[in-house]
């Protein structure tokens, strides 16, 4: 083979090493440039494609930035009322115990209005998988303070920074649900660098495989950026996330199954 290959000679299907998964539709993602939602969508769909679960998966879309997830994921989807995705997923899983059922939720959906549904679904040990994208802010509605907003963080409704005396402390819901006996696998990942994306993909694979064991709820938190809400460029917001979000929301497995 010649050392001087042209671009046309290299770009042929047999040399392809990475392409966008076919389980994402051709619709343009409605997320802001650099938002972690797109990567999170892609990882979940890649894993479902690799496991051949397209026909056996039912997803539940939340309310929030990812409200249109059913437009992007080429699988069976159901839209839930704000915060009620774990309750809807509970019903779906109980009716179709052989299907893989997951919810995809943001922090305003899962940790604010849906706290009750989330905690009780986890406490009941429902055999579903929850993907939780935490960016510490209400992104879709214009960057208001969320329960997960960091102390001192400026948002549209806390312009002088979150004051913990009057506004309380950020809710570490992932640590909270890890204490419940109904959860089986609880982990926190991020998707801002290639290494973290690879780790997050492995965690998503585990969360999907463990659902087949029928041992409880699997929970994957993805700490993400919200560059529009944080008023930064995508690269600045990723740096800010590393410096400020990760000390409060440390990455890694929080609860792993004992026998592994």
């Amino acid at each position: 083979m010649s050392q001087l290959l042209t671009r046309e000679e290299i770009c042929v299907p047999e040399n392809e090493v990475y392409h966008r998964t076919c389980l994402l539709t051709d619709a343009a993602l409605t997320y802001c440039p650099g938002c972690g939602h797109g990567t999170a969508h892609r990882l979940i769909m890649e894993v479902i494609e690799e496991m051949g679960l397209q026909a056996d998966t039912i997803g539940v879309a939340p309310v929030g930035c990812s409200v249109l997830a059913y437009d992007f994921m080429d699988i069976d989807m159901q839209q839930a009322a704000h915060g009620r995705a774990p309750a809807v997923a509970t019903g779906i899983k109980r009716l179709y115990p052989d299907k893989f059922v997951f919810t995809y939720q943001g922090d305003g959906d899962l940790a604010a209005i849906g706290t009750g549904e989330t905690l009780h679904a986890c406490n009941r040990g429902e055999n579903i998988t929850i993907f939780f994208v935490n960016n510490g802010i209400y992104g879709m509605t214009g960057g208001q303070m969320a329960p997960t907003t960091l102390p001192g963080m400026k948002t549209a409704t806390s312009p002088f920074g979150r004051d913990t005396e009057s506004m309380g402390y950020p809710l570490k819901i992932t640590e909270l649900i890890a204490m419940l006996p109904g959860t089986y696998y609880v982990t926190r990942q991020s998707v801002h660098t290639p290494q973290n994306v690879r780790k997050a993909k492995k965690a998503i694979e585990k969360a999907i495989q463990y659902q087949k064991l029928n041992r409880g709820l699997n929970f994957v938190e993805i700490v993400s950026n919200c560059n529009s809400g944080w008023k930064m460029t995508p690269l600045e917001s990723n740096k800010w996330m590393e410096e400020n979000m990760f000390p409060y929301y440390p990455l890694g497995d929080i609860k792993v199954p004992k026998q592994n």
């Binding site: 083979m1 050392q3 290959l5 671009r7 290299i10 770009c11 042929v12 040399n15 392809e16 090493v17 990475y18 392409h19 966008r20 998964t21 994402l24 343009a28 993602l29 997320y31 802001c32 440039p33 650099g34 938002c35 972690g36 939602h37 797109g38 990567t39 892609r42 998707v191 801002h192 660098t193 290639p194 994306v197 690879r198 460029t233 995508p234 690269l235 990723n238």
Partner: protein, 76 residues
């Protein structure tokens, strides 16, 4: 000479110009184009021939705009 040769193809209409792919490219292959796509974003483009097909850019791309190709080169 590198033993592998890679090449990227950017879906310029899907790219939103977030630039996340630029710092993760160890070969500094990716740069932002001076041209705009139909949505008005400066899209990512391949700026040199050093790509080794590591797929780092493609897996951090939130919009899945990058397809990566790689060939093994035989020793000259």
């Amino acid at each position: 000479m590198a033993k592998v040769k890679g090449e990227i193809v950017v879906n310029t209409e899907r790219c939103k110009g977030c630039e996340l792919c630029v710092p993760v490219c160890k070969e500094k292959t990716i740069a932002m184009s001076g041209l705009l796509n139909s949505k008005g974003y400066h899209y990512a483009t391949s700026a040199n021939e050093d790509c080794n097909g590591c797929t780092n850019c493609a897996i951090v791309c939130p919009d899945g705009a990058i397809t990566v190709y790689r060939v093994k080169l035989e020793a000259a």
